[in-house]
């Protein structure tokens, strides 16, 4: 039998992603926060706003909230789920054990990131399909490349930020409250829960510093019915890439495979 390792690093990345994906699918909490919660939010927010036209492009509430909550889904799959699982795996010694094998470190990290990208695309697809079938939101076929690219870049960015943040969390019990404490305010000011046109302008500027607003904005713009072209908003992609670079720098310096308790 030829093993994944013998077939090359790319096969090993796929091998790792396959088992990380199985682990994700069997974890009830991860499934709920990633797959169910964005759909629940979609139903609730569309219920609240009904047939009002909202947001900068005066979209129907359903058209507005599909991409907004797709941003939440991508972040849940990449950042929230990754921080919680990586912290638990580090403290439980799983990362250490994997590091004790011949698998290169980058392969383990790339495999886990690929898992998050796949889950992100699945959540995105589910939300788009739900919006189409239940609310009759038409799919912007021409801008699908833009939506997909934004989601993938966003997913990778939030994975890298997840790796960076995990270095500041000492145990798995602290992971869930920590990521929610960071993300909840950002969801509110970044156009995910509330159209940010309703916010005071200083708060809009604050939101624009952070990556959530740019993922949300990129998806909103690609989804807006009046958009022409393939729907790629390069300024948003650029800011996401910048955040990814910052996260990468932090993770490279601080990331550890060993449990934080085992310091002596």
């Amino acid at each position: 039998m030829t093993t994944a390792a013998a077939r090359g690093s790319l096969f090993l990345v796929l091998h790792q992603a396959r088992y990380d994906l199985i682990g994700f699918l069997r974890n009830r909490q991860a499934r709920f926060f990633t797959l169910v919660l964005p759909l629940l939010f979609l139903i609730i927010f569309v219920g609240v706003y009904g047939s009002h036209r909202i947001g900068p492009f005066h979209m129907k509430a359903s058209t507005y909230y599909v991409p907004g909550l797709a941003a939440l889904g991508v972040i849940a799959a990449s950042f929230v789920n990754l921080v919680i699982s990586i912290t638990a795996q580090r403290e439980g010694g799983i990362l250490k054990r994997r590091r004790a094998t011949p698998a290169p470190a980058w392969v383990l990290i790339a495999g886990r990131t690929l898992t998050a990208v796949i889950v992100s695309l699945v959540v995105l697809t589910v939300l788009l399909a739900f919006g189409r079938v239940v609310y009759g939101v038409s799919l912007p076929i021409s801008t699908l490349p833009g939506i997909a690219l934004t989601a993938v870049v966003g997913s990778i960015t939030f994975c890298v930020l997840g790796y960076a943040l995990s270095t500041a969390i000492k145990n798995e019990d602290a992971a869930q409250p920590m990521v929610q404490a960071i993300m909840l305010p950002l969801y509110f000011i970044s156009g995910v829960f509330v159209p940010n046109i309703q916010l005071p302008s200083w708060l809009q500027h604050v939101a624009q510093v952070f990556p959530v607003e740019h993922l949300s904005d990129g998806l909103h713009r690609a989804y807006a019915p009046m958009v022409h072209g393939v729907g790629i908003v390069w300024s948003d992609i650029g800011v996401l890439a910048l955040w990814a670079a910052i996260g990468l720098a932090v993770a490279l310096v601080r990331f550890s495979w060993l449990p934080s308790a085992a310091s002596a």
């Binding site: 093993t3 199985i22 094998t101």
Partner: protein
């Protein structure tokens, strides 16, 4: 033949604290080597340096001919580790975990054989989260073996086990000997080292305080034996023959003799007791247990 593990003058400092204070070790191919010591003695630090997880402050270390601080994937293909307090992926079944890990290696063992070796056939399709503590530890051993390593580190493999789970684990570890593996075992259980190891080194306060086989550790083979028995009512220890009275170490209802010549003393005791029609039903002759030797060795340091 070149030793599998060779350590000379190893030191590890954490600020002012010297966790490992200059130790030498050698482990030969095919040996089960037990590294014994109380918590905080420098055991885990040493093992983590050998496994390549920690850097050292000073000293020469080679493991399978390579400095573990500069180890690479080729070296990790030859080394397996059962780490302290490391879980398997809880959502994966035993078989899936082994498939995942076997994919990391170039020439892994057969997955089914490895499951059988650790006795988890009936649990092969159970998720790790549903296994008992002992079964999880056996999965750990299976994961350490799946790459078919030449050298296996077992860091406190039975801590927290109930007695029957420990016996099963010992049986598995003993089986590694038959596979020709070299095993570097750390433990703070004496009976575990005695049961499994070909050779034992005891570390305390960052230093090796004794080294030897389970039979000879700390001069145990030369240490005095203890003879204990209860005399029938009405007969005092002062009635024993003079040769035995010389060895009298205590008489609190039960007589204790300490002696370097246990057989001669038992013979003399029998010659004295039998003609008097005395039996000594609780007669007990024992040498110091490894546990006693170990406590003595580590207490000197503490």
């Amino acid at each position: 033949m070149e030793p599998v593990v060779s350590v000379q003058g190893l030191r590890k400092r954490y600020g002012p604290l010297e966790a490992v204070a200059g130790i030498d070790l050698e482990v030969q191919r095919g040996e089960i080597f037990a590294f014994l010591g109380p918590n905080g003695a420098g055991k885990t630090t040493t093992v983590e340096i050998l496994e390549g997880f920690r850097t050292r402050t000073e000293g020469e270390v080679t493991v399978l001919g390579v400095d573990p601080a500069r180890s690479d994937g080729a070296w990790r293909n030859r080394v397996g580790a059962v780490l302290q307090e490391s879980n398997a992926e809880p959502e994966l079944t035993v078989r899936e975990s082994l498939r995942l890990y076997s994919g990391y290696y170039l020439e892994p063992r057969d997955i089914g054989d490895t499951i059988t070796l650790v006795g988890l056939d009936e649990k092969a399709d159970t998720q790790a989260a549903q296994l008992s503590g002992g079964q999880r530890r056996r999965l750990d051993v299976a994961l350490a073996l799946i790459g078919d390593p030449e050298l296996i580190f077992l860091d406190e493999p039975t801590t927290g086990f109930d007695p029957s789970a420990r016996r099963t684990a010992w049986h598995v570890i003993d089986g590694l000997r038959e596979l020709g593996k070299t095993v570097f075992l750390t433990t703070h259980y004496m009976d575990e080292a005695e049961q499994l190891a070909d050779r034992i080194a005891v570390i305390a306060g960052g230093r090796i305080v004794a080294e030897g086989t389970p039979g000879t550790l700390g001069g145990r083979n030369r240490m005095a034996a203890t003879i204990r028995f209860t005399l029938p009512e009405g007969i005092g220890a002062d009635e024993l023959p003079p040769a035995l009275r010389e060895h009298l170490a205590g008489d609190d209802g039960r007589v204790t003799l300490t002696t370097d010549t246990p057989l001669a003393d038992v013979g003399a005791l029998a010659e004295w007791a039998l003609p008097r029609g005395l039996d000594l039903p609780d007669l007990d002759v024992r040498r110091p247990t490894l546990e006693e030797v170990y406590l003595e060795l580590t207490e000197e340091q503490a």
